[in-house]
Amino acid sequence: MTFFDQLMLHFDEGVTGLFGQWNVYSSLIFTLFAGFLTYQIATRRDPDAHPFLLARQAQPSAVRQEGESPVYRSQGAPHGMPLNPGLNVKDPGVSKWAKGRDGDLRDIWRQAVAGVQEDGPSKGATGRILTVLGSENVTEHRLDDLTRQINLIGQHILDQGGNRVAIYLPNSVELIVTLFACAFHNLTAVILPFDQPDDAVISMLRRSAADTVVTAPGSFPFDHVVKSYPSLRQLIWVVDEGSAHLDWNEVPQGTGGSVNVSTWQDIVSDGPADAGKDLPPLESQKEARDVTIFWQSKPGSAEEMVRFTAANLISAVTAQIFAIPTSQRMGPSDLFLPADSLANTHTLVLTLAALYSNASVAFNSVGAGANDLVMATRGIAPTILVATPAALLKTHQETGGTLTSAIARNLHSIQTRSLTQDGVMPTASFITSYYDRYRPAIGTKPGKLRLIFTAERVGAGTPPLSSAVLSDLRVYTGARVIYALTSAKVAGAAAQTGFYDYRVFNDNRSHFGAPLTSTEILLKDTATVKNADGQSRGEIIVKGPCVAGNEAALGVEGQIREDNTLAYL
């Protein structure tokens, strides 16, 4: 035989010899191999956001001023395009392609009442407005009833000569109704943070020059206020069912003879039954008035008073709506629960965005400032939640403490891998159903929660949330978490992490993501921290239509990271 033939024979005998050793174990190993490969290929999911999109989340400007960094903008509002000014409200009857108005608070309520406008299966669907009292009692308010209340309360305040209305209420439907009443009847609303010491309340009333107060008995120091604040003209008590039998119109002897006291229920029930069903018409409405809020930094220090124009708030609402991808936006099937005080503009803006998107909104007076998410969400199953970092940290610590067994920890790490490596939310499967017993009991049906908003408040000492904590919360609750940076002079948020950004870094405090479509961020040199080519560090300055005065310095130092997201130094 030739050399080549011999070679081939040797080769043949070698291969046959090797595979001749095939035995049971070989079949087993090969089956495992084929099974593993098939499983991985069949269950592979594309990441929610392309990694390249997460690797560069904001766009810097091409030119920068000396001593400043380039101006960073969201990818949704690139340089050269104007920032998001308004809601693009289209009046009924106007063509779908016409340019809409910017809109103001009144348009938000009109949209909430009108229902979903887009053609489709949910056309005309409206959200429900719920009040949660305790764990069993959930009352629904009808939208036309609320419209009636808006009209009657607003008209009453106007008739009594009110101009600047202070709202000192916990999270409740009355707060929102008064806010809209001020918007529709050209009154200036002043929202005071609830549960403050007496002199803080008086100081805030004085600084905001309020002449009307809408408040709840028991928390408002009526006697003290009447003595120290003579400009108060009108007071409206929001009385709950249990105390309705008392006569709240009676003013104690020797006090406030000049104050006109009435109750909410009286105003609403005294009005004729068919009055106030229609909102004031669109054509003759005057320009929208400002809203004043008080920003609380550390407890004990004076609150900062900030005036936001209607345009500021609307721009912030638009930016929050645009921050979420279209397929995931709030809609009539969502239940929105603010478990943070509505006196915070971030929470207020998100609530307005929920109302504008025709989502159902629930109000829980316990929720504001409560550090317990389980208590704040009793009785309902929210799908979207606004929580404080302190509450989230508490939930994280409690749940983390229960995960002691090795199986639970392994399941947790498998689900975390799904988030960080594959870039997708972990799916519920038979194996992970063992993990469900560890999930925090948020709401009556924990699986419904899909989105949690939380905000870092500049200067208020909110506890830091690291990206590992945020990722753990995503695994525990099965919901996406958005971490925002908020400040006194910025309505809504200045920067916010991406909806699909699940990355985990080795940090003590997570980055704050990219600017919103209504803000642009630049960093200015300070005495200690300077900008350099390619390295932006300095004091955070926020500009845009949602900032009071269109430009504000946050008073804190930050840096821009490799992926163009904002973080504290």
């Binding site: 090797l18 174990y25 190993i29 191999f33 560069r56 030119v63 490596q421």
Partner: protein, 172 residues
């Protein structure tokens, strides 16, 4: 077929030496393939890193003297000034760079030349240390032409600085 028949007969005549252990060479090979595949799938992925963007240009205040070096020679960027605004026209190096038809404008105040539509030397200000060209003697048509040019420049090129006369740098 002959060969195949011969080989089959050869193998069939061999005694059945079935080795039932787990670690035959074939099994070791198959195990190796399995372990490698599992490792490849579960290896932590390196996070993707996009190349760094070019650092932003710092906005500077130029005088006619300091603007002059930016004429494209020695690979310098090409700048030209229109009505006090300095544009980075490096992308149009074929036109404004050295050897291009409009090379006279590079590193200079091009306002008068653009207004009158001329690339002559006498359109440029001779005295680099003197005050800037005020363009006071241009007719309305020329001013319109200049505005058109300025708009086109604004759309196409980046403003990287402003031009002031020598001695005016510290004024606002």
């Amino acid at each position: 077929m002959d060969y195949v028949e011969k080989r089959v007969a050869q193998e069939a005549s061999k005694p059945a030496a079935a080795d039932d252990s787990l670690f035959t060479p074939l099994n070791v090979l198959l195990l190796g393939v399995l372990v490698y595949t599992v490792y490849t799938f579960f290896k932590p992925k390196v996070p993707v890193a996009l190349p760094k963007e070019e650092p932003a240009v710092v906005f500077k205040t130029f005088t006619p003297r300091t603007l002059l070096p930016y004429s494209g020679e020695d690979n310098a960027p090409v700048y030209l000034a229109v009505r006090g605004r300095v544009f980075d026209v490096s992308r149009g190096r074929n036109f404004y760079g050295p050897g291009g038809p409009y090379a006279n404008f590079a590193g200079r105040d091009a306002s008068r030349g653009l207004a009158k539509g001329s690339f002559d030397e006498d359109m440029l200000t001779k005295d680099l240390d003197g005050p800037l060209d005020t363009l006071a003697d241009l007719t309305r048509d020329e001013l319109e032409a200049l505005q058109g040019w300025e708009d086109r420049f604004s759309e196409k090129y980046l403003v990287v600085g402003k031009l002031v006369a020598v001695g005016d740098e510290n004024k606002a």
